[in-house]
Structures are given as structure tokens and as C-alpha cells.
């Protein structure tokens, strides 16, 4: 811009011409416009800051609600399925100690400690370990064995609930399961009933015969036939042995 008086160069923001000191006629208008622009700028700035702050607060809350909703759903699902979570965690724990458990089970098996075997197997949830599946037949047969053992050794000890009749029913029912469990099944891997497992199962069957003769007072011949008898005939033989009914 040129000074109207001396023709020297002046800026729009200069109040007077730097050469002849003539007042700049555009200066006031420029100053007023600059003031208005600054005011507008500040107002817009404030508005932007306030709006973006509100937006940020809203976004944070929404995000928090979304995260909480996710966690709520997750924990409700976990709480409803806590048994499966425990099952999963326990099987991992059992699998990590398989060799130790195998050693222990073999120890119980070698000692023919039927009750100890079942107690250890159940206490450590070993039914969860696929690696120990070859012990499953020994376990199920031992379980049935100890139900029968408990009832046999308690014969004659009657109370309000446990009468000898009830015990005999338990014995004959479980004998069916016991002898069934001893039979090899088509779908079963041979590792479950051969080798040491096979010898254990044989001795289990033999001991069952001895216990039946001693406590149910059946004859040795009857004990030999027991695996192929029906539940009813077994029950009759035991009742006769104990002299519950006259012939």
C-alpha cells in the first residue's frame, strides 16, 4: 500500500506513514476488523474446546460401559459354567502330573490295595486324565468291589436304615455290575485288562469269592458260579447262606 501524501510504502497495520507521519486512513478499520476477528476466533475456539471436551467425556463413558458390559457378560457366563471351567483347569493340572499319578496308581495296584486305589483315583480326579485311561477298568471294578465289601463286612450290624435285607440287595445289584465290569468289552482297549491290570482284576474277582464265602456264607461252588448267575439267584443264594429264610 502506498502513502497518499508521500507515496512511500506503508503496511495496513501501520497507524502513520513511517516517512511523512501522515495518518493511515485504513488503520482504524483494520484494527476494528482485527478486534472482531480475534473475538470471533476466541469464541469459536472456546466452543470447539467445550464441544470436543463433552464429546471426549461421552466417548469415555460409552467405552467404559461397553467394557463393563463385556466383562459382565463374560463373568456371568463363567459363573454359570464354573463347573466346566474347574473341570478344564483340573484336567490341565492332572495332565501336568501324569507320571507321578501313574507311579502312585501302580503302587496301589501292586499292593492290591483296592480301597486305596479308588481313594487316590477319586481324590486326585484322575478320571480327567486321558493319559491314565488304561486304569479305568481297574477303577470301575474296584469301585463296585468296595461297595460290596462295605455291605458284606457290615452284615449283621443292623440299624434303622441298614437292615441285612437292604445290604443283600446292594450286594446282589453291585455284584451284577462288578462281574460285568470284569468282562472285556469290544470297544475297550486291551491295555485296560491285560498285564498287571489283568492280574489285578483276576485277584479282585478271587478275593470277591473269598469275601462272599466268609461273610455271605455261600459255598465255594456257588461263589464260582456267581459270575454267571442272575441277580435274583445270587440274592437267593446269599439269603440262604445267611439263613434268612428256611429252605
Amino acid at each position: 500500500m502506498k502513502c497518499q501524501q508521500c507515496g512511500g510504502n506503508i503496511g495496513i497495520q501501520d497507524e502513520r506513514c513511517p516517512y511523512c507521519q501522515t495518518p493511515n486512513p485504513h488503520y482504524k478499520q483494520h484494527r476494528a476488523e482485527m478486534f472482531r476477528y480475534r473475538k470471533d476466533y476466541e469464541k469459536t475456539k472456546e466452543e470447539v474446546i467445550s464441544k470436543s471436551g463433552r464429546f471426549a467425556g461421552f466417548t469415555v463413558k460409552l467405552t467404559l460401559i461397553a467394557v463393563l458390559a463385556f466383562l459382565d457378560v463374560l463373568f456371568i457366563a463363567l459363573a454359570v459354567n464354573a463347573d466346566e471351567v474347574a473341570w478344564f483347569l483340573e484336567s490341565r493340572q492332572v495332565s501336568a502330573e501324569t507320571s507321578l499319578h501313574r507311579e502312585k496308581l501302580e503302587e496301589y495296584e501292586a499292593k492290591r490295595d483296592y480301597q486305596g486305589f479308588v481313594a487316590y483315583y477319586e481324590e486326585h480326579s484322575l478320571y480327567l486324565a486321558e493319559e491314565l485311561e488304561d486304569f479305568s477298568k481297574v477303577y470301575y471294578a474296584s469301585c463296585n468291589y468296595i461297595y460290596i465289601y462295605d455291605a458284606l463286612v457290615d452284615l449283621g450290624q443292623e440299624d434303622d436304615y441298614w437292615t441285612d435285607e437292604r445290604r443283600i440287595e446292594v450286594i446282589s445289584d453291585n455284584l451284577g455290575y462288578f462281574y460285568d465290569e470284569l468282562k472285556p468289552r469290544e470297544y475297550e482297549d486291551a491295555s485296560r485288562y491285560t498285564g498287571e491290570h489283568g492280574r489285578y482284576l483276576e485277584e479282585l474277582k478271587e478275593d470277591m469269592g473269598y469275601l462272599l464265602c466268609a461273610y455271605a456264607k455261600i459255598t465255594a461252588e456257588e461263589a464260582e458260579d456267581f459270575p454267571v448267575m442272575s441277580d435274583g439267584r445270587r440274592q437267593l443264594a446269599i439269603e440262604r447262606g445267611l439263613g434268612l429264610y428256611a429252605d
Binding site: L62, D72, L78, E90, E122, A151, V153, D154, L211, A214
Partner: protein
């Protein structure tokens, strides 16, 4: 705007409460499912008191399988259980003429009797119940 804010805050508080409840319930259930079942010494004593030796054997085996450090009284209960178990097989083997097996069980009976402590009087009771001569 304030009402909207209050609404969001209420939702957040409610969700936090729900999270605490569901999380707490989950961890408690998990603890219940995963914690081992401990046989108390008193259960063993009750079984002895009730002369429920079959149950005593089962409880003793479970307690031993859990591999917890037993108290002196528990050890004595284990000995009673082992004595009864050995005696029950001793009778069965003896009647079946399996003398070698019977002798092994008799050895266990003698061994366990020494460890029965203040319950050693039960040996006589067990033998009487199983119709055995006292060893």
C-alpha cells in the same frame, strides 16, 4: 445434559456392582469345585464310635490319599481302619484255606495294633465282631 450424565453414571455403577457379584460368584464356585474334600479327624472318630468300620476304612483311605499331614489321633484311626481291613481279609483267606495270604494279613494286624495307641482296645472288639481269635 446433567440428567444424561447422571443416567450414564448410574449405568456404570450398576454394571460395576453386577461385575462384582458375578465375579465373586464365579471365583467362589471355582474355589468350591476345585478345593479338595478333606476328611476331618472327627469323621473318623464318629465312624469308630458308631462301629461303622466299613466306612472307617473308606474314610481313612481317602484321608491318606489326600496326602495331608495327619494328626496323632488320625494316625491311630488309620491304624484301626487298617487293622479292621486286614482282619476282614484274614478271616476270608483263612476260611478259604489261603494260609499264606492269611498270614500276611495277620502280620499287618499285629503291625497295626501297635500303632492303634489308645484305640488298641478295639482290636478285641473287631476280632469279636468278625468271629476271630484275638491276635
Amino acid at each position: 445434559m446433567r440428567i444424561k450424565n447422571l443416567f450414564f453414571n448410574l449405568i456404570i455403577v450398576a454394571m460395576c456392582v453386577l461385575l462384582l457379584i458375578s465375579g465373586g460368584f464365579f471365583f467362589l464356585s471355582l474355589h468350591d469345585y476345585m478345593s479338595a474334600y478333606h476328611i476331618e479327624g472327627t469323621s473318623l472318630l464318629y465312624a469308630i464310635q458308631d462301629e461303622d468300620y466299613g466306612r472307617l476304612v473308606e474314610l481313612a483311605k481317602r484321608s491318606q490319599a489326600a496326602e495331608n499331614e495327619p494328626t496323632k489321633i488320625q494316625e491311630e484311626c488309620y491304624a484301626v481302619a487298617a487293622y479292621f481291613e486286614a482282619a476282614s481279609y484274614y478271616k476270608a483267606y483263612l476260611l478259604a484255606g489261603e494260609n499264606e495270604k492269611a498270614e500276611k494279613k495277620a502280620g499287618i494286624m499285629e503291625e497295626q495294633m501297635e500303632q492303634m495307641g489308645e484305640f488298641s482296645y478295639l482290636a478285641e472288639e473287631i476280632c469279636k465282631r468278625l468271629e476271630l481269635e484275638i491276635r
